[in-house]
Amino acid sequence: MQKTLVTFAVAASLGLGATAAQAATLDDVKAKDYVQCGVTGGVPGFSAPDANNVWSGLEVDFCRAVAAAIFDDAEKVRYTPLTSQERFAALSAGEIDILSRTTTWTMSRDTDLGITFAGVMYYDGQGFMVREADGIASAMDLSGAAICIESGTTTELNAADYFETNSLEYSPVVFTDQDEVVKAFEDGRCDVYTTDASALAAERSKFANPDEYIILPEIISKEPLGPSVRQGDDQWFYIARWTYYALLEAEELGVTQANVDEMLGSDNPAIKRLLGVEGEFGTPIGLTNDWAYRIIKHVGNYGESFDRHIGPNTEIGLERGLNALWSDGGIQYAMPIR
């Protein structure tokens, strides 16, 4: 009996889930007057409370952009800090509308978890940090190095793969805790520290003398971090995806938060289409035609957001690298708005 009850409850919730998923998230969001955004518990530069106790970061800006497109107000976002275990359940249960939580886009997550990825806010990957004084310029010089690694992570496996394929010798110095790894590296117990490049940069800023350390150019794994939405609501998915494209397109066209009002008078047809001066691009996704104008006005373009939170002038100091626009040698590429 107990079992049938549980089965029934599961079936009922799945059934309701299916019907509700077809209901428009956009209508719900408009009705409650805010976007519910799932974020991390604090990853500097991506989503973390700032000095005024307000969420900020590159991935937070994505949620703000969606809110700006819908409400013409980037502040109409509420944040739910999620652990990595709860994040997918929270999204598929409808507790949040967008998951923007340093989540790597993988096939199984995209196809099997009831969620869909809308874009890639940051192409991350595993990198190496060394002391500048050691005179190492490339990962190919690392033969024979002692490497500090966190145990039981994909980081450990990636490093093993990389050194094996390049037939380099190395001796791993393994710890169970991220903080211990960093401490060991700082104390000189190993020559190299390896983890995701964005985390390397964030950890470096905690050192007493950050300038004495450099991050090598090689990236040895793919960690595309992007926002995701629930499967089954195409309209909401399009809003998320095209918000992402609008952020990129604006940077490519040179439209910034500062000059967006000027740009309304531009002769460039691509800018006219982006800002809604020409064409009807907002209405098919349930928004107004100036949806992208609102995004740029309130949040700025992708490059501005990047520079504000994780760019070279911030404490984190990440270069654009892979995340530069395709026209600048990176792989950030927006589909044309037309």
Binding site: D28, G42, A48, P49, N53, Y79, P81, A89, A93, S205
Partner: protein, 378 residues
């Protein structure tokens, strides 16, 4: 008549022999009574000499002989080799540790809640203060309602502040106070139910207590925050903080029930019989005779579970609620204050705040035990 060989005045009292009183005698008696005592004393002194200077150096600001950066310092002061604790960072992020994401313009609301709580709680805890009954009604019934509306807003033109924005010490206190206040009656009822002669009530109570005691609190919180939403129709969400509150309350009431049962079983059978012989009903005999004695016996146990509950509130951080510990953890990734001792300083601060509250509870329980002592002490 006076005899020259008889003293006319008293001899001045001499001090006690050096080896029976005074600091030397004390040291001999307490520290160096036997060779093994002397050895232990010396070891302890060596340990203190070894341990205290580095600890002092770490937590004391530069002005008074330490390496720590006092409040008001800059992040550059903290980013040096062999830096001590970065207290400047704690004071700069203090509002985050107390209020979490609560909008700064609305800080007056939690402030009123704190002040009102202190104003009502202290007279309630002071035995001599008058108007106990009114005070209790105010604190247990009126105060929670006021708190809820003040913090949540949405009435009298106050801006609504959803619970996701609550955080810091505020949330830690809310969870522990609600947990403590709600679990006392629940725990007592469960304990009485378990002693009951009515089979259904007894079975239900035993099942409830054994179920909640058999499951770790982390599991309860995980179930509440991860599994529960999957079973509910989409769109109907129960507030995350409320889920944690219910979980913590039920969990601690099961423990409290067992503590109270210990008190009930410690009472001699004669007390129950005496109550019955007076013709008291079940509730009257419990309320006037049994419970006052039983609860008094188990004060240390009850306070013990309150202290455990207070510390367990930090577990809610794993379901993404920003209690004190979680705000400290989140702030330790604050890039503007990133320095070698940022995380350690944060944890020291959190530990110290927890210690203050737990120590206060423990001292109060000792005071209450002494006050209520009627000669049962052995």
């Amino acid at each position: 008549m006076t005899y020259s060989f008889v003293r006319q005045d008293m001899v001045d009292a001499r001090g006690a022999p050096v080896n029976t009183s005074g600091p030397i005698a004390w040291a001999r008696r307490s520290l160096f009574a036997t060779p093994s005592d002397a050895l232990l004393t010396i070891l302890a002194i060596v340990f203190l000499i070894w341990a205290i200077p580095p600890i002092y150096g770490f937590i004391a600001p530069t002005g008074i002989g330490g390496n720590a950066v006092a409040p008001g310092g800059t992040v550059e002061d903290c980013r040096v080799e062999n830096a001590g604790a970065c207290w400047a960072y704690i004071s700069a992020r203090m509002s985050f540790f107390i209020y979490g994401f609560y909008p700064p313009a609305e800080y007056w609301r939690p402030n009123i809640v704190f002040a009102l709580g202190a104003l009502l709680l202290f007279p309630l805890l002071t035995p001599k203060a008058p108007f106990k009954r009114t005070n209790a009604v105010l604190f247990f019934v009126v105060y929670p309602v006021i708190c809820f509306y003040l913090l949540n807003g949405g009435v009298f033109g106050m801006r609504p502040v959803p619970t996701e924005q609550w955080g810091g010490l505020m949330v830690t206190l809310i969870i522990s106070l609600v947990g403590i206040i709600c679990s006392i009656p629940l725990g007592i009822l469960l304990a009485l139910g378990r002693q009951s002669s009515l089979p259904i009530i007894k079975t239900l109570c035993v099942m409830f207590i054994e179920l909640w005691r058999a499951v770790p609190l982390i599991t309860v919180l995980f179930m509440a925050s991860v599994m529960l939403p999957l079973f509910m129709p989409q769109g109907t969400t129960v507030d995350k903080l409320l889920r944690a509150l219910v979980g913590v309350t039920l969990f601690s009431s099961a423990y409290l029930a067992e503590t109270v049962r210990g008190g009930l079983q410690a009472l001699p059978r004669g007390q129950y019989e005496a109550a019955s012989s007076l013709g008291l009903s079940y509730w009257k005999s419990m309320g006037f005779i049994i419970l006052p004695q039983a609860l008094k016996h188990v004060i240390p146990g009850i306070v013990n579970s309150f202290i455990a509950l207070f510390k367990d509130t930090s577990l809610v951080s794993i379901v993404g609620i920003f209690d004190l510990l979680n705000t400290v953890q989140a702030a330790s990734s604050d890039i503007e204050w990133s320095s070698p001792t940022q995380a350690i300083t944060g944890y020291l601060f959190a530990g110290f705040v927890f210690w203050i509250f737990c120590f206060a509870m423990s001292r109060y329980s000792i005071y209450m035990e002494r006050r209520l002592d009627t000669g049962h002490k052995r």
